[in-house]
């Protein structure tokens, strides 16, 4: 499981960077966030942390009150809470144009790779036929939603010409 997650993270994190760098030729710094982007990312971290805490609180509440272990095991819960939290972070950043640094032009590569990874994880979950062990599903939904958010945002910006004014 850990290996699969690691492979997924490497695939989603590394492949777009490699593709993007090849596309961009000059391969400039990947962490150049301007001040507005840093501000937005700070807010995104805040919301992500709050989401994580809320998720864990809800689970503790459900488990504590009813002793209802609907999750199968604790690892599932932890992973799902993290996925949801990370999703809040990435979607918030994407919507505010702060997911990638201002110099990066890799949105398409990121979006497509994330969506593909999401699909792969969901397919893996479906094929496993162990539907109660839903960490595959959680990771898959996370990447799928992440990719969809990036691609939708990109499409929206291109459609509106990115708010560019002469």
């Amino acid at each position: 499981m850990v290996l699969l997650i690691a492979v997924g993270c490497v695939a989603v994190g590394l492949i777009p960077i490699l593709i993007g760098s090849a596309m961009e030729r000059r391969g400039r710094g990947y962490t150049d966030y301007d001040e507005r982007q840093q501000y937005v990312r700070g807010k995104a971290y805040q919301y992500a942390l709050m989401t994580l805490m809320a998720c864990i609180l809800v689970w503790i509440g459900l488990y504590g009150i009813g002793g209802w272990d609907w999750t199968g095991n604790v690892a599932n819960v932890g992973l799902c809470c993290m996925c949801l939290s990370a999703l809040v972070f990435t979607v918030y950043c994407t919507v505010h144009d702060s997911y990638l640094s201002w110099r990066s032009k890799h949105y398409l590569a990121f979006g497509v790779t994330a969506a593909l990874m999401g699909g792969a994880y969901i397919a893996l979950w479906w094929m496993s036929e162990r539907w109660l062990e839903f960490w595959h599903l959680a990771v898959g939904l996370f990447w799928l939603a992440d990719g969809a958010a990036i691609l939708l945002r990109r499409w929206w910006l291109r459609r509106k010409k990115d708010g560019e004014e002469p």
Binding site: E35, R36, Q37, Y39, W102, D162, G163, E164, E165, P166
Partner: protein, 66 residues
């Protein structure tokens, strides 16, 4: 509140948002956000914009108080 003075100064200089953004080292979306009044830039960025447009801080960012 929209910063129309910044927008008109940029237009007068014949710069697009992207050109100004490149000149001051930020994303174009950030310049757009400043013009739309959605983001308050730091004094450092204000100074860089003023330098790029050949204006003073007062001319671009100062608001008269009632």
């Amino acid at each position: 509140m929209k910063n129309l003075r910044l927008k008109s100064a940029r237009a007068a200089k014949g710069l697009s948002q992207q050109a100004l953004a490149d000149a001051v080292g930020v994303s174009r979306q950030t310049v757009n956000a400043i013009e739309q009044g959605d983001y308050n830039p730091t004094i450092k960025l204000c100074a860089a914009i003023c330098r790029a447009l050949g204006k003073t801080l007062d001319e671009l960012f100062w608001e008269e108080w009632e």
